[in-house]
């Protein structure tokens, strides 16, 4: 899996209330709710983010509630990859479960708003094209990577269930 895109960079402790404000998602129209993503942190984000963009944060990304709307909104807005120095555990699981790879990358703080990255998840390479440097990340456990390749836990389960029935 190769992802190439522009980075949106934020700091530490971006919580799930900031990503998916209370009441922004009632289980139906994800895109409508996603317009409120980070509204209190950076109102430009939801308007400006494009398909294939990369979301970057430093420490503790996704602290707070278990609400899956937080990564769902990012995905709905076009984000294809998340990098952070560290993640809250439920948010991390939720990302993979919805098919959005989340990489633990200690050098996240070196990335600047608008930098272009190319990431090859099969080879394990991140290149910051704007700064012309390579970055490293913690390898993704195999079962999580397989889940992402299937598009998330649901499609993964679907496949498994249909295999059982055949």
């Amino acid at each position: 899996m190769i992802i190439e895109g522009k980075c949106w960079c934020y700091g530490a402790n971006i919580d799930t209330d900031a990503l998916a404000p209370m009441g922004s998602y009632q289980g139906e129209n994800v895109l409508d709710g996603a317009k409120q993503c980070l509204r209190d942190v950076d109102p430009r984000f939801a308007k400006g983010v494009r398909e294939n963009d990369i979301f970057v944060a430093t420490e503790n990304l996704g602290i707070g509630s278990s609400r899956e709307a937080a990564p769902l909104f990012l995905k709905a807005l076009g984000v294809r990859l998340i990098l952070a120095s560290s993640f809250a555990r439920i948010f991390f699981r939720n990302c993979y479960n919805i098919g959005l790879p989340a990489l633990i990358c200690e050098q996240s703080p070196t990335i600047n708003m608008g930098d272009k990255l190319i990431v090859d998840l099969d080879l394990g390479i991140i290149k910051n094209l704007t700064q012309d440097v390579s970055l490293s990340y913690e390898p993704i456990p195999e079962h999580l990577y397989n889940m992402v390749l299937s598009g998330g836990l649901l499609p993964y389960l679907k496949k498994q269930l249909s295999n059982e029935h055949n």
Binding site: D17, N60, L153
Partner: protein, 424 residues
């Protein structure tokens, strides 16, 4: 064969759930789930819908509990729709344990006798860690993970390291479990124990009521922990006897003497002072002496963290015979209807109402900015809840301080953040 390996309580529960004789921290294992809890926000409308898309039934209807507590008690048409959907979904899936509008899920679940030591449980809510107060291993998960559990009855987990949190000494009058947790948040931050399980031990825990232990395990989530847990003892047994669970195996569900704790942290509680978290994070906690100049407009006693019977008792001890400041809107939302009834019986509710409290329905309410206790523009509030992120409890310009039931009560009287020890 050698002696069975020493394990911590959490490791023992996981080993049993994944069908192995022992596990080590770092192992990735697939566990069979003894109980799955979900509420109206994470449940039928999210996980339920996805399960239907998969087209498979709930793996074991006896092991599912659905509780409505988030979007209840108001006229909002969206919320009404969520409730109707929850009802219809539970009916069509023949959900046996559908508990409607009886209070907040984490406090309702044990009241209805669903938790006991040694169980491996999941909940569609980050504060599902609360269940650890009963010697169960209970973790919070997101909706997709819930679907996985609903469809298969299983979930993969990484066996966490266990941190031994030794609470030594004695809590002084006016100090509560909440102060311990705010102190730990200030010291270790909201990611201090990411991926780890915290086992609370020591003389302070041994003397604590089950409800105070629930505050410890509830706010393990604010320390980033996978869960918090307290080994069962006579106090656990006494609580569970009340809800119809007579025989627990308290001896079996203990950490072994030689168990491998990743570290041991000792907190001397004898010298603990009240702690308060400044906006907008629990980790902005400091000793109460830093907050003498903060004037308040609202005080809220509510949530799974801070409106159990013991919490209401603490509030009543401070408020007895007093009135709250005329500048303060004071709201109390007992965590469950049962707790409300008990509080009435004990005369606690009367004390609170006479002091000026408005009693609100039992549900999440003010904790998530719903209902009468929603924080308005520029309102400064203090509350017994567990999180104070920007905009969570109301308008983004509002400011919320977190504190113990004692401190919230004392502050309601004076209209300023106030050390409750003045009232003891």
């Amino acid at each position: 064969m050698g002696r069975p390996m020493s394990m911590t309580l959490s490791e023992k529960i996981i080993a049993q759930a994944c069908g192995r004789s022992n596990v080590n921290s770092g192992d990735i294992v697939t566990c069979k789930v003894d109980l799955a809890m979900m509420h109206d926000s994470s449940g039928p409308r999210m996980a339920g819908k996805m399960l239907d898309e998969l087209g498979v039934p709930v793996w074991d209807i006896d092991k599912l509990v659905v509780i409505t507590d988030h979007y209840i008690n108001d006229e909002n048409p969206d919320h009404k729709k969520i409730q109707e959907h929850a009802r219809a979904w539970c009916k069509s899936h023949k959900v046996k344990y559908f508990i409607r509008e009886q209070g907040i899920c984490h406090t309702v679940l044990p009241e209805y006798g669903h938790l006991k030591p040694g169980m491996f449980c999941v909940g569609g809510d980050s504060h599902s860690t609360t269940g650890g107060a009963f010697g169960a291993f209970m973790i919070g998960i997101g909706s997709s993970d819930l679907v996985g559990v609903l469809a298969t009855g299983e979930i993969w987990v990484r066996v966490p390291e266990t941190v031994c949190m030794k609470l030594k000494g004695t809590l002084q009058p006016g100090i509560a479990a909440k102060d311990i947790m705010l102190k730990l948040c200030s010291k270790y931050g909201m990611m201090g124990f990411n991926y780890q399980a915290i086992e609370y031990r020591g003389p302070v825990v041994e003397k604590m009521s089950v409800e105070e232990r629930m505050t410890l395990t509830n706010m393990a989530a604010e320390l980033g922990a996978k869960t918090g847990i307290v080994a069962p003892d006579d106090i656990t047994q006494a609580y569970l006897s009340h809800v119809g669970i007579t025989a627990i195996d308290a001896k079996r569900w203990q950490s072994d003497d030689e168990a491998d704790f990743t570290k041991t942290i000792t907190l001397n509680c004898s010298s603990l002072v009240p702690y308060v978290a400044a906006p907008s994070s629990p980790e902005n906690s400091l000793s109460i002496s830093e907050f003498s100049q903060i004037t308040l407009n609202q005080a809220y006693v509510g949530a799974c963290t801070g409106a159990k019977l013991d919490d209401l008792r603490m509030v009543a001890v401070v408020l007895k015979g007093k009135k709250v400041s005329k500048n303060i809107d004071f709201f109390v939302a007992p965590a469950t209807l049962n707790i409300r009834k008990e509080a009435e019986k004990e005369g606690i509710l009367k004390v609170l109402v006479e002091a000026g409290a408005k009693v609100l329905p039992s549900g999440c309410g003010g904790c998530i900015g719903l209902g009468a206790a929603r924080l308005g523009e520029n309102v400064v509030g203090i509350s017994t809840t567990n999180r104070n992120f920007v905009g969570r409890a109301g308008h983004k310009s509002s400011a919320l301080y977190l504190a113990s039931p004692y401190t919230v009560a004392a502050s309601a009287i004076t209209g300023k953040i106030t050390d409750p020890r003045h009232f003891f």
